[in-house]
Symmetry: C4
Subunit: 201 residues, 4 copies
């Protein structure tokens, strides 16, 4: 079974989940006429849009990197991918919760929900990667060992990191939200500026 | 006519139908501030999201398996595929009905609607498969006979099974809903754990 | 410029426009508890869903047929395609209007809006086809002349036909609505049962 | 890293952003029965739909042109592309604002938000192009120098032009809105009628 159709399906889910994020901003603006004030007031919606869009974009790019090292997929890999995509497609929901409630009593519940979602994205992403590499199960014949080790090293800490930020959010929701944003920006720049490119050919 | 473009269109519908499921969760949460309690209260929305996402993911994977055995498509096959996709794209609607009404008077109507939708997915899926294999009409020259028989054996009982669960839902909506969920999980694990892989190369 | 990327974009728009149709059914059901009665009452929503989904599916299949005869695209062809896709992506809106208003005073406005949309789909579809074939501008070297003539003959009357049904809808909205449905079913069966396949290889 | 998967993802976002525009028209119509009058009253929604759909279609076609000149992508290019797509996916939001408020007190805020969005689309589009061509970094070996210069010359003024229209909108919202529309139509016809085709093979 080749990897093509999985990529088409995955890219579809990534693209739709990212593009649906704008509906959350839409919901926030309401339908009243003083939109000048309102447009400034809903800044958390823009922040949420940017952070979640970047996060999905980075997941997409990383998925790209993983698939480049893989020669074929089996049924278990397909099912693990469905679990990953199920987590990614969930992201618009906690994004809206955080944007809507970061300034009221719901901030704790909202940021923790966001954190659980991101943790489960990180876990399922690790699951597809380590399932594929264990014993070279689905790897390409010519996969570069250094590259594979580099990917493993980069992805392994992600679940714990997201879990840690989730615990921070439990104590201080705004700090947690800021860390989710900082983390997305870090991934964005790290890979571009600090030579991550070498690790993936 | 090659199979490529049908796959692109089908993958698009599968990906969108699955990703739209999150809008149902969104609708349930409402816009009030006590989201902590609310987030726990809407657990049927999460269950519905998971079951329907997995179901669509499995249909997608099975469609993948079917297309791998097919060499070309004709106009009738295209039109039967449109009917399948029409049924799949309908899934978000009964999913929301079940999530919203499983705990009130509407449970019977909701689960029966879900069951009718799933039955019609199973019927149209069988239609494309048996149209393609009858007399080897659209099969690849080198299609493996054992694989083809394996697929036929696996898909044939699905419409009756979904119809049976629908009848169960008519008597006891919660039991029906639980069976739809169990059935999705069964397909997920069966194919991964019990060697279904052999049957599809 | 090759035809690949146009097909990906077009298939995306077709798939999304078709899948969004379910949101119209969703809107109709409302959020009250007597969903048993309500589910029966909104039958025009199901009819609208089926007719518009089939219509988009048929346009997709025909687009497929057209692209098979074309060797390359130029900028004008791309822009005409954007106009076609703009008309197709509009379909969910009049579909909802008809489903919602076919039984009240808005029936005339709703069905006429549906008709204008379908007429403009037919006009832009003809525009891309006749732009491509005039003087063999974008046709494949090996395009079969009989096939090309067959396609021209089939598509040419569509704008006038849809315009005629629109005029019928102006006089009798229910008759117009029924004719739009009958027309979609006709295309579905005609191509499958009466040998249209021969005309497109 | 090849350009294929970026194109699939980008085409997905373009297609979804364009198709979601219809939801804005849907929101405007409301659910009352005098839809005849209402359908005429919401003409700015249709105008907004047309202008933004054309704009996204033109961005898609231009992205196509750019990718044709590029041999490979690196991580920085992917991240810049995510920023471009983030701006494009934002378009439905200001489109709705303009359609809804062009005739009330919110016209200034709405058109300026539209202008900022378009300016940021133009900036990120320039970023991916000039990142790719600087020192021939990602260009194809056989990229035609005249074509590359032609593209650079065409895209470079766009950010300033959109910024200028945004400033006009600050003074006179209706004039700004009209200019956004005129600009989209200009691009549509310019490329089709005045031989822009030569510039891109």
């Amino acid at each position: 079974m080749s990897t093509n159709r999985l990529e088409t399906f995955a890219d579809g889910v990534f693209a739709i989940a990212a593009t649906l994020l704008i509906l959350n901003v839409d919901t926030q603006i309401g339908a009243n006429a003083e939109i000048g004030t309102r447009l400034l007031h809903i800044w958390p919606s823009y922040a949420g849009y940017v952070v979640s869009f970047l996060t999905i974009g980075i997941i997409w790019a990383n998925h790209h990197t993983v698939m480049n090292q893989i020669a074929r997929v089996d049924r278990t890999f397909l099912m693990l991918s469905v679990l990953l995509l199920m987590s990614v497609a969930f992201i618009p929901f906690p994004t809206r919760l955080v944007a809507e409630h970061i300034r009221d009593d719901g901030a704790r519940a909202a940021t923790v929900t966001y954190g659980i979602t991101m943790t489960s994205v990180a876990i399922t992403f690790n699951a597809i990667w380590f399932y594929a590499v264990r014993g070279g199960r689905l790897l390409r014949e010519d996969a570069d060992e250094a590259t594979v080790r580099g990917i493993s090293r980069t992805y392994r800490p992600a679940p714990l990191l997201y879990l840690a930020i989730t615990l921070v959010a439990l104590v201080s929701p705004p700090t947690g939200a800021a860390l989710f944003g900082a983390f997305a920006l870090f991934w964005l720049f790290e890979s571009s500026l600090f030579g991550h490119d070498r690790a993936q050919a």
